[in-house]
């Protein structure tokens, strides 16, 4: 536990003592703010639905950017060797880095809480879907972080890590829009694999155990795959 906290602290310090965190947060806020509010007044509805529907696509690019360096950089500069020869378990390292990325996601989402607060002054906002939406956003962000961490453990090259994890994230997001390509027999299975589908359910304000299980299991599988990929390097 103590080691886990040390890793988490170190990774968070890396994010916030360097420009990475601020650049990513600014870009995220700019893009989501602009896309959301440019159509917000046309709909004339006090709802955050359009904001949340943007997140899966935007997270597919932002999360890989946050996580691409976590292992790639260690592998490239060789500090991974130091990390492994310190009295740390793989679990300490992987979960510590994952938690740092999730904390970064939360830090990124935090300023957007101003949106629903502003909207609630303008109209009658239903807070249920908003709370569900933020829960879903953290789960979705966590899932993409875990995928990004796995991609980062595969290679020394951060660009390769970024592209691999973007591809995976985009695929599990867009698969929900491509359902008409699949035969009806497998439709349910394919739909269940889509992160977008589960995120939409939660952001409607309905917290269903099936959706929770989906996110938790994807996170678990990705982190476990990270463990295997690292073990392979030793």
């Amino acid at each position: 536990m103590r080691q886990f906290v040390s890793i988490l602290k170190k990774e968070l310090a890396d994010y916030f003592f360097s420009p990475i965190a601020y650049i990513v947060i600014v870009i995220f806020l700019f893009v989501t703010g602009w896309l959301f509010f440019s159509t917000f007044f046309l709909f004339n509805q006090a709802s955050m639905r359009n904001f949340f529907s943007l997140l899966p696509i935007i997270f597919s690019f932002v999360m890989p950017a946050i996580t691409m360096r976590l292992f790639s950089e260690e592998l490239r500069q060789g500090s991974y060797e130091l990390l492994i020869t310190l009295p740390l378990t793989h679990r300490n390292i992987i979960v510590g880095k994952f938690a740092a990325a999730v904390a970064m996601t939360v830090a990124m989402l935090l300023p957007t809480v101003l949106y629903p607060i502003t909207i609630s002054f303008m109209g009658d906002l239903d807070w249920g879907p908003v709370i569900g939406g933020y829960m879903g956003a953290v789960l979705l962000g966590g899932t993409f972080c875990a995928v990004g961490l796995f991609a980062s453990s595969l290679t020394k090259n951060q660009i390769v890590a970024f592209i691999v994890s973007t591809l995976i994230c985009i695929s599990i997001t867009l698969i929900n829009e491509m359902l008409f390509f699949f035969p009806t027999q497998v439709l349910d299975v394919v739909q269940y694999l889509s992160a977008d589908f589960h995120f939409r359910n939660i952001s409607k304000g309905i917290v269903d155990s099936r959706d929770l299980i989906y996110f938790v299991s994807v996170i678990f599988i990705s982190l476990y795959a990270t463990r295997l990929s690292l073990a392979h390097k030793e």
């Binding site: 103590r2 080691q3 906290v5 040390s6 890793i7 602290k9 170190k10 310090a13 890396d14 003592f17 360097s18 500069q77 060789g78 500090s79 060797e81 130091l82 492994i84 020869t85 310190l86 009295p87 740390l88 378990t89 030793e234």
Partner: protein
């Protein structure tokens, strides 16, 4: 204290380390010597638990690496080759981070950092980013990193590589200073390094031990001989060979080089238990030769190393 048993590592088909068996006692300073690619670094990486061996095991204080790697990692401080650190971190932040992971209680961390920065000479650079340090300073940060948890065993992979002569002496003194209460294993291919610091030397070549023992033991095993180098002028080579062989105690005489008709370089070898310089000089004096060069050379670690490991170069 350290028991290495049948340690073997294959990289695909290539055997980097071949069934090593080594026992190291507490307080020994062991120098691991060998040409490049002999398997030194691979051996050390298996000792620290970074690589898992293809076969065999490492036991430290009767704890097995394959069963309880975490326990063993707590006892080992490791300085990898070229000490790779986080370039953007400050020296202070980095050492603090290591002290947290090593589990030093919060109220003792500062004392420990103070002690190590003093020992390794880091006081003036604690506020600098690691990426801006020179090679020698980087290496010293590495030593502080390795010693953070006050480990019983220090494993240093080529600690003086890439340093200038002054820094080499500094690191060497540092190693001697900390060696009083620790077991140290370090690899190097600089022989004078090992001669100056170690009390035990292990030479490996192509993953196998070719010599193991104290400095003097290795020299003895390799045949303890002294050679006398002469350059003579106004001398006929055949006469030189014939006459020098008559000196009592000489094992072997050979012409190293013929410089011109009447000038030759000769090497005379004899056991290092006797000193034949006087006898040889008297012989030369009686023969009317003129001496241009005259010096004696005890067998060095260099020549032993050369003999033991040369085969691999020739075949390559």
């Amino acid at each position: 204290m350290i028991h290495i048993e049948n340690l073997t590592k294959y990289y695909r088909d290539f055997c980097a380390v071949d069934h090593l068996n080594i026992d190291i006692d507490r307080g020994e300073i062991v120098g691991l010597l060998g040409p490049n690619g002999a398997g030194k670094t691979t051996t050390l990486k298996m000792l620290t638990g970074y690589f898992s061996p293809t076969e065999g095991d490492v036991r430290i204080k009767d704890i097995s690496m394959s069963e309880k790697p975490l326990e063993i990692k707590k006892m080992i401080g490791y300085l990898p080759e070229s000490a790779p650190f986080y370039h953007e971190m400050l020296v202070y932040d980095y050492l603090l981070y290591v002290s947290e992971i090593r589990g030093i209680p919060a109220n003792k961390r500062f004392d420990r950092l103070w002690y190590l920065s003093d020992l390794c000479g880091l006081k003036g650079i604690m506020h600098k980013p690691i990426g801006e340090l020179s090679k020698g300073l980087n290496q010293r940060v590495g030593l502080a990193h390795a010693m953070m948890g006050d480990p019983d065993i220090l494993i240093l992979d080529e600690p003086t590589q890439g340093l200038d002569p002054n820094q080499i002496v500094e690191i060497r003194n540092l190693i001697k200073k900390i060696s009083k209460e620790k077991t140290i294993i370090f690899s190097t291919h600089i022989l004078s390094e090992a001669e100056a610091t170690c009390n035990r030397i292990i030479i490996i070549n192509r993953g196998k031990i070719v010599a193991d023992g104290k400095k003097d033991e290795i020299k003895e095993a390799a045949g303890n001989t002294t050679s006398l180098h002469l350059t003579l002028t106004n001398a006929n080579p055949e006469d030189v060979l014939r006459e020098l062989k008559t000196v009592d105690g000489v094992d072997h005489v050979r012409i190293e080089r013929q410089l011109d008709e009447s000038t030759v370089s000769v090497i005379i070898t004899y056991p290092s238990t006797v000193d034949l310089r006087k006898a040889v000089y008297l012989k030369i004096k009686s023969m009317d030769w003129i001496v241009l060069n005259f010096y004696q050379e005890k067998q060095t670690l260099e020549s032993i190393f050369h003999n033991l490991t040369l085969g691999s170069y020739k075949e390559n």
